[in-house]
Symmetry: C2
Subunit: 410 residues, 2 copies
């Protein structure tokens, strides 16, 4: 247990307040570098200043609230944070929770005269959602050196705007070089956006890794034919091929001891007529696993299956890779610190894998990193119904406090 | 072997000529009661008149070429025929072959002084395809008393026209009451529109029955969820449900000793996004079997499967019947006559089931009926690539001749 305490009421008030910025009759929307994103950023900066933190903005628009007592100035900082941009018609917890809890932790430590051995910084990374400008997690990616600043700034948005112009327009084209502070450690607190903690009745997830993602588009060509006059044995049914892929992926995921998940999210048939055997099926496969070798195994097994299927069913099958990211392993040391902190607080905790992408996966390339999850009601996110209980939000912030103290004391 | 012979050259010339009527840069199209259908009908009527047949038209526009030598006038006729309307961008054999071969048979018998014991009639039924006016097989259905004349005439077309008006406009609202001639027997010669005869190297199909058809629309509701954060065990994946139905139907048809065929022709997913577990799948099932009790068994088995699937996968599944027709059994006597005729001509023949609907299934309600099939190249129909070899077309017409002679002699 820590001597320092946070103000749960102040944290919740800020979450609700920020959740009202950019909200209209259509819902809550703060797309990156938009007018509403500017309003959210302005609100955050006011709070950072009120807490007595130095505010820095880098050239990709990442915002930092820095607390560096004089004796710590030569040390690499402990960084916490997340993002405050949103999807269209969003909930108010995704990202914002991690940024505002980070601010609450630093403000509480400062107010209660905690003496850190390192600076402590809260970061709000630009364009995590990637809805208006691709790719997602852009601010942290640029910060970690994974994407050149100029290339990122030249990104053209879905509305034809250029990111550099938009950042300048809203006043968040900063002067710091991305990556100017190399963190000693990075800890991101986030809602789970999945159902596991709630289903298991646990308060805290100690996130030890993040799934790699393989996105493929599969096109199956068969032969259109009459549904009544073509015997089953003479069919080359592209729709049946798609069904076989879907059931193959499910059975493989279900019977495996791994954490692989597989999803067929998109599927269309041609000619899509009730009495015509489908000549073409186009489908997508989303494969995820927290271990690179397993993700590769699954990809190879799918390739093998498609070859067999094409032969057995007289189909022509082609595969296109739409996107591929490798899994990320977080710092075992920080994960253990999260577990220990939850344990001391009497909170039920489990190690887990993040199924979604987060800024932490980018920062993990330059600093020891981990994440802390709190339960999402019904596993729902990217949706106005996104919800986490006040008790869970406060518990998560307390664990973040304890983890930051533990690291900043070293 | 018959003493009478047909003129294969005349038959083929007429098929190619009728196949040019209503053809433009877009292909061959003679939708029922359209301007191009009128041109096709006018051409047919000229040929019937040139052959010395009486031409009669009934109130639903069915055209009859009647040969009734004086001694036969009190007898019920032997009827042959099919239809000359087409789908959009059609081939030139579907329907037309049966009508023109029927004309060729009667004309040859007449020219070669055959003395029938009964009148012989060739019929061209209105609107078999049902593309412009629903339902299909309308002319024969009305003729057999399965649909009231006034109801059929009031049918509104896809272009907003009324069938009665269109028949009047093109000059084919005749004066005969549908069904005014009750056939002694009906024999329809048709291209197979399927691959079986070609695949087996047979020249003639003796069609002994016609599949019943069950069309259903199945709606599956699951839960949309994140493809990365939702473990397989916590999913209610509507797309996976659709895949299970598709593979169930295939396995059941493949492992069964029956002739059941099952097709999933239409399938759509919602929200149809690569990283979202499908919340809804909508699909169609086309089930066909030549025996009513088996079709019912398959329908019931599918219902049972859907119940189990809904329970196992936490899905809500609803079923709507879109269309249902019972199988039709043809006259064993005529089928045997077809087999005998093919045998005497040295043509390889098999009994078979029609997978598609035909006018014969309607006329079967009022007279002993059967069909004769000839091979379709690649099983292709309703397509410009529809093709049957000249040798097969002539062989089929010769079998029709022999069957008509056999029945008309009795």
């Amino acid at each position: 247990m820590n001597d320092v305490s946070i103000s749960g009421g102040r944290l919740l008030k800020r979450i609700f307040k920020l959740g009202s910025v950019g909200r209209d009759a259509e819902g809550l929307t703060r797309l990156a570098a938009s007018d509403t994103d500017k309003l959210g950023r302005d609100q955050l900066v006011r709070w950072l200043q009120q807490a007595g933190l130095e505010v820095a903005v880098d050239r990709i628009g990442n915002i930092f609230g820095v607390w560096q007592p004089a004796p710590t100035r030569h040390m690499a900082p402990v960084m916490v944070g997340s993002h405050i941009d949103t999807v269209i018609n969003a909930g108010m917890y995704d990202g914002c929770y991690g940024v505002l809890a980070g601010l609450e932790v630093i403000q509480s430590l400062k107010e209660q005269d905690f003496e850190p051995a390192r600076p402590i910084v809260v970061a709000a990374f630009t364009n995590e959602e990637g809805v208006r400008f691709a790719p997602d997690m852009m601010g942290s990616l640029v910060y970690a050196g994974g994407l050149a600043l100029n290339e990122a700034l030249a990104t053209i948005g879905t509305d034809g705007s250029i990111l550099a112009d938009e950042l300048r327009r809203i006043g968040y084209a900063g002067d710091k070089a991305p990556g100017y502070m190399k963190p000693h450690a990075y800890v991101e607190l986030h809602i789970e956006q999945g159902p596991i903690l709630e289903r298991e009745g646990r308060a805290i997830g100690a996130v030890e890794n993040l799934q790699g993602i393989s996105w493929r588009k599969i096109t199956i060509d068969g032969t259109a034919n009459h549904a009544g006059t073509t015997p089953i044995s003479m069919r080359a049914d592209a729709g049946y091929g798609a069904a076989r892929i879907t059931t193959y992926l499910r059975e493989r995921a279900r019977t495996s001891a791994t954490q692989t998940v597989a999803t067929v999210g998109c599927l269309t048939l041609e000619p899509n007529a009730i009495n015509v055997i489908p000549s073409r099926a186009t489908l997508t496969v989303d494969l995820r696993d927290p271990f690179e070798h397993r993700l590769r195994e699954e990809e190879a097994a799918l390739d093998d299956f498609l070859k067999r299927l094409a032969e057995e069913e007289a189909l022509r099958i082609s595969v296109e890779t739409l996107s591929r990211s490798s899994p990320v392993s977080f710092s075992q040391d920080i994960v253990a610190t999260v577990e220990a902190a939850a344990g001391k607080r009497g909170l039920s905790c489990r190690r887990m894998t993040s199924g979604a992408g987060h800024d932490a996966q980018m920062i993990a390339a330059v600093a020891p990193t981990a994440m802390i999850f709190v339960p999402s009601a019904g596993g729902i996110s990217h949706n106005p119904a996104e919800h986490s209980s006040e008790a869970d939000l406060i518990a998560g912030a307390r664990v973040l406090l304890d983890v930051v103290c533990a690291i900043a004391r070293r």
